[in-house]
């Protein structure tokens, strides 16, 4: 019937959505994600402080080959008699460096592609999305293997290779978000007022997509770490920088299993798994919080509850 609003729109919830505030608020509501975030932060700090906290030298043999765990060496020694805890700390450092750097590369590419495609739309959008589609179809790990094999295993190459393949999901997700932001009233108004594209993107679009970008970044870090682990296992890791993946590979190569030296294999894998888990929890909860379509289920095992009658006195019927 009448389009005119009978009721003035209720003002939006007080408190604008600043990215940092949003991040902390979301995490506070999800203890698992909070734990994940703390874990990541503490691991990063450990990695940064590696040269100072590693208990033993990295390249010196300090005991027998595959020495079992003891009070001096809590996680035992590896196939070269090197302390496992030291190895893990340094390996963590390399793995995180690769993870962060590769993610940075993929964020830059994915972010640019996503924002440009979403903002300009039309032909540019179609072309960019086609390119994204092709990249999506090519299997990541085989391509990484091939490129690493051809270019040679160095940290730089690995970072670039991983980064070049992981940008697609970020691009897609950002593009969708940018498209919806572009339709918002204040953006249209800014355009009508003659604001340049760069200005609009920087001042209006980017702040809105920043939380989603962060969520995507964290999730990509998980995949980057996984990919690095896989590449190292296949012998394509950087030989001069020990990473968690290489620790696993070394143990595998030197028959740690048949020797019964579980301490050489289990801890590095557990550490990688926990890193990936932490990233998934944090990124996942951020994504969930940003998902506008998340609603209450109409159906589940739990049903609505009944409360005893609350008497408010008889109301005249």
């Amino acid at each position: 019937m009448s389009e005119a609003s009978l009721f003035v729109e209720a003002p939006p919830e007080a408190g604008t959505k600043s990215s940092r505030g949003f991040l902390l608020r979301t995490l506070r509501h999800q203890p698992a994600a909070m734990a994940g975030a703390l874990f990541l932060v503490s691991m990063t700090v450990t990695a940064i402080l590696a040269p100072w906290i590693a208990p033993y030298p990295l390249h010196e043999q300090v005991g027998p080959v595959f020495g079992p765990p003891s009070w001096q060496h809590l996680l035992g020694l590896d196939d070269g008699g090197i302390d496992m805890v030291t190895l893990l700390i340094w390996g963590l450092r390399t793995s995180l460096v690769v993870g962060f750097a590769a993610t940075f590369v993929s964020m830059v590419i994915g972010g640019t592609v996503g924002v440009v495609a979403g903002y300009f739309g039309g032909g540019i959008d179609t072309v960019l999305m086609r390119i994204t589609d092709y990249f999506l179809v090519i299997p990541d790990v085989p391509l990484m293997i091939v490129v690493a094999a051809i270019w040679g295993p160095s940290l730089f190459h690995i970072i670039i290779v991983i980064g070049i393949l992981l940008w697609t999901s970020t691009a897609r997700v950002l593009r969708a978000q940018v498209k919806s932001v572009r339709e918002r009233v204040y953006v249209k108004r800014a355009r009508a007022l003659g604001a340049g594209h760069t200005r609009i993107v920087v001042r209006h679009v980017l702040p809105q997509v920043a939380p989603l970008l962060i969520a995507s970044t964290v999730l990509t870090i998980a995949v980057a770490i996984f990919d690095e682990t896989a590449l190292s296992f296949l012998g394509l890791g950087d030989p001069s920088n020990i990473s968690l993946g290489r620790i696993i590979e070394n143990a595998f190569e030197r028959a740690a299993i048949s020797t019964g030296a579980w301490w050489a294999i289990v801890p590095p894998g557990v550490l990688v798994a926990m890193l990936i888990l932490a990233c998934s929890l944090v990124g996942g909860s951020l994504e969930d919080a940003l998902n506008p379509r998340l609603r209450v289920a109409h159906l589940s095992a739990r049903t609505f509850r009944l409360r005893p009658l609350v008497g408010r006195g008889e109301d005249a019927l």
Partner: protein, 322 residues
């Protein structure tokens, strides 16, 4: 006469909020519906009218808690929770949702979905059910052959008709229509309203019409209940409320509606916003927006009889003239 067909007594609904706390969405609603009667449940979005309608059928989500009674022909159907409610759904009370909603399953034909209702409640199987489906569709103005179509192949108006046909499949006694014409264009809205009018008459259905749109209520209902901040602030015959409103909110509502007020009147809008329902409300919930608030409004008013069938919750009605 015997007891009313449907009686809702002191219905309260709370929703658990993420991060603790509760939203008190329905704060003590009482409704009485006779056979064949048509009641309009009116209010702005967020006032609790849809929640009330859903609660009557027990269609609340898992994070809801309810108290109160829903008496269908004398029996409290709410007392047993979801399990006890289920046998009454569709055969006693049926519902039609907003047209814009995805209320029909997109991957099944509309015929299939109507047959599903018929077979579930033993109104026919196989060919019998399909024949009955055809009849129902014709009754709402859809050619029976369209039963093989998917919801997305029908226009908004047709989909709404199909939903109505499905709702009537098991001859319910009460039909709840939640914003049935919102998001449809004007011509179609009129058709749907006419359809509802005719069907309710032909099948002797009682109707609860939930809407924010007063002209719609005026067309279909004779009685009306105005809701604000989770409670009914005025109830009675539509004429009575229009001519002698017992609550400032109703008065402003009716004044603001262009069709009822006449085209020459300026369209008023009510400034401000309804109160938050996650905290207890101090005094009359309408006080911040009311143009006639005074001292007594610091105490929450209760529904009081103004005339035989007319009640309102406002201190103005009991103010002794100076």
């Amino acid at each position: 006469m015997s007891e009313p067909l449907l009686q809702v007594e002191d219905l309260q609904v709370w929703f658990d909020l993420e991060g603790g706390g509760e939203l008190h969405a329905v704060q003590g609603v009482n409704i009485s519906l006779e056979r064949g009667e048509r009641l309009g449940l009116v209010g702005e979005s967020g006032c609790g009218k849809t929640t009330t309608a859903l609660a009557i059928m027990g269609l609340l989500p898992p994070n809801a808690s309810v108290s109160g009674r829903v008496l269908l022909e004398g029996d409290d159907i709410l007392a047993g929770g979801e399990e006890a409610m289920r046998p009454h759904r569709w055969v006693d009370v049926a519902i039609v949702f907003q047209g814009a909603m995805n209320a029909l399953n997109p991957v099944r034909t509309i015929g299939h979905q109507i047959v599903e209702a018929l077979e579930l409640h033993n109104r026919g199987k196989g060919a019998t059910a399909r024949a009955r489906t055809g009849e129902l569709l014709e009754a709402v103005g859809i050619p029976a052959g369209r039963a093989a179509r998917y919801p997305h192949e029908l226009s908004g108006g047709m989909r709404q008709r199909a939903a109505i046909a499905m709702a009537l499949a098991c001859n319910p006694k009460v039909l709840i229509a939640d914003e049935p014409t919102t998001a449809l264009d004007v011509m179609v809205q009129a058709q749907i309203l006419e359809l509802l009018d005719g069907l309710c008459q032909d099948f002797g259905l009682a109707l609860i019409l939930v809407t924010h749109d007063l002209p719609v209520v005026a067309q279909l209902c004779n009685r009306c209940a105005v809701m604000y901040a989770g409670e009914i602030v005025e109830r009675g015959p539509l004429e009575a409320i229009y001519h002698t409103p017992g609550h400032p909110y109703s008065r402003m509502l009716f004044a603001a509606s262009p069709d009822l007020a006449g085209l020459d009147e300026p369209v008023l809008s009510i400034a401000g916003a309804p109160p938050r329902l996650d905290r207890p409300i101090d005094g009359c919930p309408f006080r911040p927006r009311c143009d006639s608030a005074f001292g007594a409004c610091a105490v929450r008013p209760r529904l009081e009889q103004l005339a035989e069938d007319h009640a309102a919750a406002c201190h103005l009605n009991s103010r002794v003239p100076a």
